[in-house]
Symmetry: C2
Subunit: 201 residues, 2 copies
Amino acid sequence: MQLHKRDVVEAATSLLDNYGIADLSMRRLARELEVSPGALYWHFANKQQLLGAVADRILAPVGTDDSAAGDWRDRIVSTCGQLREALLSHTDGAELVSASFAAGQSKLMSDVLDRLSTAASEAGVAPANAELAARTVVYYLLGFTADEQSRMQWDAAGADVVRTVWTENPSARFAFGLRLLIDGIAAETEHVLEKTPKVRA
Amino acid sequence: MQLHKRDVVEAATSLLDNYGIADLSMRRLARELEVSPGALYWHFANKQQLLGAVADRILAPVGTDDSAAGDWRDRIVSTCGQLREALLSHTDGAELVSASFAAGQSKLMSDVLDRLSTAASEAGVAPANAELAARTVVYYLLGFTADEQSRMQWDAAGADVVRTVWTENPSARFAFGLRLLIDGIAAETEHVLEKTPKVRA
DNA sequence: ACCTGAACACCGTTCAAGT
DNA sequence: ACCTGAACACCGTTCAAGT
């Protein structure tokens, strides 16, 4: 039978889940699908593009529910929560999406960026800075989650030394950093509204 | 003559500067040094460790001058400025340091983290959260700079479409995101001091 | 249109054996 | 102690040729 793009992406995702990003190679994927390596290049221009498709598969659940409701703070929190959850649902998910985002290969990651930008605008951030505020949130989220996930995997593999103050309560820790950014965005708003620097404690 | 660790790191750095991270392979490095690939494994356990040494070479200029002076805001700004400058001074510097940091192979990156943590503590962030605040800054810095640098390189390679609002005035854009984080840290302080949420605009 | 076979030009790492 | 030679087990990508 014919090989379809979506079969390839599905096989790639299960390779990722079962063996991790290091073992997600074009050759191994071809072997799994019982085709020759060259066959994949009929459907995808290169590996980056294929990984981008896997990234978008991982990100599919993001932004499907309530993330359009509430004020700008609620929307940032819920979008980020969904995004983090999606990344944590696949082995090396954060690393893969991070790489695809950096390479400009993930359409859905751009969508997330747009929604965060809108939220930042609504918070009162100047239009020229809204996307940057959104990116700041995304850089944090990807860095934090990739870190968290690699520690989890080390941990599951039985390495000690890793289980410090660091590995416990990752959701609360994640929320703390996100709060920092949200407070920063709110402060930026005040600059604009009050035309004066925020009062120091 | 004998091969020394520091010769290897130096050759690796010049390979990086001239050809980029994709061409920084153990085999190519060995060829450049006119030794067999196996020789490198006498001096370094693996490629990751060697890249960590290159990362620390890149980071050597960070924190050598005035970055211990001033209040906590000044110290964060100057440490981050020096760090970003060091990364931009080498082809793919941000990507390489980012990878080494994630792999826990850069001693100097840990030092930077410590200094940012101290600054955050001084700002009034609770001890348990100070390192996290520092990490948030580092995740932002690495994400932003890697992005900036890859655009610069695309741009220098003659790609258009890249030169949008995005590529202009990167230092001002960097400062904006950093300000967001600093304001967020300051707001966190207020929570602690006033024991009440920050007033909304 | 879609895929195979085979090649090209590489990788990181190990290790017996040499000096 | 330090390095070579050679091997092991892989990579991503291309492309003439087949169906």
